[in-house]
Symmetry: C2
Subunit: 406 residues, 2 copies
Amino acid sequence: MTLHDAIARLAQFNDDPAAGGITREVYTPTYQAALAWVAERMQAAGMTTRIDAFGNLWGRWEGTDPSAPRVVTGSHVDTTLNAGRYDGVVGVLGAVEAVARLRERGVQPRRSIEVLAFAGEEPRFGLGCIGSRALVGAFTREDLDALCDRDGVSLADALRGAGLDPDAVPQARLDPAGVHAFVELHIEQGAVLETGGEAIGVVTAIAAPHDFRLTFTGAATHSGATPMHLRRDALAGAAELLVELERLATVSASRTTVATVGVIGVAPGAINVVPGEARLDVDVRDADLAAREAVVDGIVLAAREIAARRRLTVAVEPIVRDTPVPCAPEVVTAAEAACAELGLSHRRMTSGAYHDAMIMAAAVPVGMVFVPSRGGVSHHPDEYTAPEQLDAGVAVLAGTLQRLAV
Amino acid sequence: MTLHDAIARLAQFNDDPAAGGITREVYTPTYQAALAWVAERMQAAGMTTRIDAFGNLWGRWEGTDPSAPRVVTGSHVDTTLNAGRYDGVVGVLGAVEAVARLRERGVQPRRSIEVLAFAGEEPRFGLGCIGSRALVGAFTREDLDALCDRDGVSLADALRGAGLDPDAVPQARLDPAGVHAFVELHIEQGAVLETGGEAIGVVTAIAAPHDFRLTFTGAATHSGATPMHLRRDALAGAAELLVELERLATVSASRTTVATVGVIGVAPGAINVVPGEARLDVDVRDADLAAREAVVDGIVLAAREIAARRRLTVAVEPIVRDTPVPCAPEVVTAAEAACAELGLSHRRMTSGAYHDAMIMAAAVPVGMVFVPSRGGVSHHPDEYTAPEQLDAGVAVLAGTLQRLAV
């Protein structure tokens, strides 16, 4: 089975095929079935597999020195709602393929190589990268009850539903001394490689998000009976903030800050009622921490000014605040050497999207390899990377792993 | 049982008591149970009752000349989501109380007086006043299949669920020659009476809505990997339109136009995805038709300009476009005479909210009587009108009916 075919097979595990894309959220029965299928693929490639206490799937190819710190590679196979089939999946199935190729070539690595499918990179529970966060010990037991999905299911309940014990989650914690490096193959999710015509992106730094929720509260009054000047319209305030948020990101000192509102909700939500409440989930990202925080501060300041002027209140609730990370020079060097050997053009670049590698960087040296995304489209059914582009990514990942596993 | 107590009893029919307000949408089992209770109240007040082919409830107090065109009064007992307990209900239970008082006083009207509880004034199916629309013959059989609620249930299916036959709906059509006048008692849903200190509002004209849906479409791309200048953010375009919509209504030539977006939705709706689609349900109202249409035109023009500048597309779908109506002089005169006789202060005013009376005006002479709303709050659990204010409204309605039924 080619990687392209394997990706198509995995895409069959889908909770909403009628929507046209893939919906496979972590810990759902569909996700668990997909994970079992991935484990079979790992075993077919000669790896032994295990599921850790958080539901992360590990496949191990033992090296000639089993006690040496190992090389870990992987990504995730969960998706957002109605997403594409490449995001995350390429880094898991591509890693299985890279291991299979190295074995076929008779490579015998000194270090063991492990392929990892992180549980929950996408923010089902409002927070991304929960699988890698569990590996670096980021969760308290209370967090598992507090984090809930859009239907109010807590992370703890979702773990139980997948046959896992929330009290055992600390056992998933990784010993950093046992890991030599982590490398993640991923689609770019932007249009930089396509625009530049390069085959491969070698990532030198990963931008990190600062996410928070703004809730404007005004008065839910009748749309017909409330003159414009007597309104306390929460959505009108939110709209003004949205315009200002876009402006603040555009003029950010780093020129690389992005700010997005991807989730908005109003209450009560009837056509003949002025919204009494408007909630915005704000996502601000940059590899430049100071520039990012300046934009966040500007957004919060603007929200307070708008609220005061419009006789609204505004509440700010934290969602996540991660730190941008540089990639490890040894991983960058290994990936660039692999590109050179294969004769593949590459570009050094920053990852605008965050990834599990960003979280793993708190504990171990990390790096990333990107393949192009057609039209820069991601998290959408139209997400696409051509078979030959995937093949180049697998070849570079194999070469990188081989160098790191020496 | 006082009117205040009856209102409290009806509030027990509630599909979401935990939310703090009333949720009783038309044709639900809870609504049907409420309607049966209202029919019992009508019978206790000496009326004969029937349900017509659309689910409108009629109570009849026969006059001394049963063949004379009758006087009809009433309102509705369905609610929006998590609403108050007075909107609509006051006009139904208050009319039952008015009839009871006239009977107690030994009044024998020449014309029959009928109390009507319209089915579905609130826009469960995206369109308000469906009960009165059925009475004036506004629906084709196709409309009943096409109009759907937020869960995709069609009006036709909802009718079936309430034991009604969609094919029989034309039988609900009212013969205008059989109706002398229609008068509706209602809470103001604004703060004009409270601010002015008047007990009663006598309505001289009813503003009407022009509602439509704007759908902006851009590109759903990754929030981290898509630089600001490469975005086609549908919500950013919608936000700009919201700011302009508020401005256009505020500067409208009539000084009475209101424009509202009470419903907004984005797709795909994830914190790390730039919205590829944003939908706004726009509601524009005025008793001045030309001023209203000028604001609607300005909004649509602005939407198209914003979309073109941002490389978005925008679609405009009609929802409803009703015509503002003047109230009938004979009803206004009767209501004012009733106020004078009772020594109650009153104000002539326009209704900013629409009501079934607006739809009925297409077929018969109409009028309305308002009682104050505390703080102008409506469609909200805090909606309130004091018992003595309700009592004044019932007294004026009784006096109005008595005069019209001569």
